[in-house]
Symmetry: C2
Subunit: 347 residues, 2 copies
């Protein structure tokens, strides 16, 4: 489609979310020696002294990232904080401070914002994080939440996406696909409700996947367990856009290929059952679902035995040389190329 | 207006912007010893080692903070970065890193975002700041820009709002009211254009106030001059909401009163002329206009002579004990109570 007033118009969808941010930030030169890492990882890394400072930010938009018809505001506040705290965990650091900006139309009351803040404050309590700033402004319509999180790590502790090595084990915490299946359930009940507002939502027995969607946790427990076991991941990222998208980040940024084994993917039985109801392959939910906020990391093969003793960590594959490409090996032994089909809000 | 589904509904306008953020963040306890200052100043202050880390964030909303009918996107990007860099200057620190989150509807093209980023990058070049992160997501409608800035300062250098002392001189950099008068001009031309799209905007000779509105600068030059002169402000804030609102922040947070002299207020002749066209008292523009991003600070009376030698700094009054209240002393010698009438986007 050509805009007559603007002969050169490229639609945002032509680049997609990752392509767009790469495009807009390409060629940026770092000017300050304290800036160790700019764009392109879970957090920026700054050296202001004894400890490194990690900073990450996220923007959550009503109608794009959340739907208030089925998201309680307290849950939303909790999740907005947690997904940022998860970014610091994914750098192998500890989240310490949080800043929140909220833009809100006058459709919302003070009590509604109190609920939202109650969720943010609950997450700050749980993760021992200080809420140190924020602004609240009006919007013409809708709710926008902007969160910045600041953390610390010792210099020798920080783990990037780009430092995986050939033959490293690929590991994931917890289980996958649940958050996506929870979202499908909530969307289905919303449609039922729209068709007949007298209907009560039928969500019983589905608590697990609903909680995965509405109240995710940052896996700081896994970070602690790895430290206790003396394991430092060689590369790490948190799973916000789906396993496929995230392992491709690690592979691409590390200049490697990878193999993931379908029969090693951790999927909870509730997730698999409900996926069946929706006629969705649980593997698809695990690979492309997103929003699980589990940690995906690589580790030295020599840590194999130690890793097996840690509850909640699954070894799902290994890194290869780049020429071998990125493949999922199915239960039947076939190779499927891994493609990023995660949430792309600009497509 | 009562919402039948929510018997307790307090409208956001009942609290206003500052009241709301105070309300939502009240009673927050700091949990980490590294957190030296949380909410309530231009930036949060974190002690991660040799230098303190300063962090501030701002959310800019289309239709609330800017109007794209007369704001070029490159200017908007520049301003979004500068107003945050100004927050770090107002802590007597140096901005080092910037993170940008943009939420945008598909009404915008890639080229439009390139323009926006060109402005952000220009500001980063000028102020020697590294763009270290950001995300770009879609919005249902409108453009939202969320900026986080990180800076540093030596421990003994940081200046808060709350540390002014009785008899301290009140100083301001540059001149005031120009940005507001520039906004009035742009709004007037917008109305003319709406009434008759064939009309060309009549903005000639008004470059100064238009630039004050569209392309403000952070006064890091003033911070350097003060350091060179061996002056450390006793309290400082940048003027985003208008001199009246900002001096009340310093007075309230320091537990003091203040006197400001109308005949000392620096107003540029162009600002005064155009204010006259709009039948607005230049003093009103200076006191309540906002968006000048000049620095307002207090200094020891013993620095009086040194301050007078610094170009671009004006001594406009002094701090008093709290019981004396906050007053503007008019050219005629009358006392007018200072009231915050700055931008309050929630009213």
């Amino acid at each position: 489609m050509t805009d007559p007033t603007n002969p050169k118009r490229t639609e945002l969808s032509a680049l997609g979310e990752f392509g767009l941010i790469d495009h807009l930030t390409s060629g940026i030169e770092i000017k300050n020696k304290e800036t160790l890492k700019g764009t392109g990882d879970d957090a920026a890394v700054i050296d202001n002294g004894k400890l490194l400072t990690l900073v990450s930010k996220d923007l959550l938009v009503e109608g794009v990232h959340f739907d208030l018809t089925y998201t309680p505001l307290k849950h939303l506040g909790y999740k907005a904080a947690v997904v940022n705290i998860s970014d610091i965990a994914a750098m192998n650091g500890t989240a310490k401070q949080l800043l929140v900006g909220i833009s809100v139309s006058n459709r919302f009351s003070v009590e509604a914002l109190e609920e939202l803040y109650a969720g943010i404050r609950l997450a700050c309590e749980k993760y021992h994080v200080d809420l140190v700033g924020g602004d609240t402004t009006s919007s013409v319509s809708g709710l926008f939440i902007s969160v910045t999180v600041i953390g610390t790590a010792k210099k020798e502790e920080v783990v990037y996406r780009s430092t995986a090595r050939e033959n490293d084990l690929i590991c994931v915490s917890g289980d996958l696909g649940g958050a996506y299946i929870g979202l499908l359930l909530l969307e289905r009940e919303k449609q039922v409700f729209k068709a007949n507002p007298q209907m009560q939502p039928d969500l019983e027995g589905n608590d697990y996947v609903l909680e995965r969607q509405l109240k995710p946790e940052a896996r700081v427990d896994i970070i602690h367990k790895l430290k206790e076991a003396g394991i430092k991941p060689t590369a790490m990222i948190d799973i916000s856009d789906g396993l496929a998208s995230e392992i491709l980040h690690i592979a691409k940024d590390s200049g490697l290929g990878c193999r993931i084994y379908e029969n090693k993917l951790p999927v909870d039985v509730v997730t698999a059952d409900i996926a069946g109801e929706f006629q969705i392959d649980p593997t698809t939910a695990a690979m492309n679902g997103g929003e699980d906020y589990e940690l995906l990391f690589t580790a030295d093969v020599n840590d194999f035995e130690k890793l097996q003793t840690i509850k909640g960590i699954h070894i799902i594959g290994h890194m290869t040389e780049k020429a071998e490409g990125e493949y999922l090996i199915s239960n039947g032994g076939s190779l499927y190329p891994i493609e990023a089909q995660g949430f792309n809000h600009l497509k």
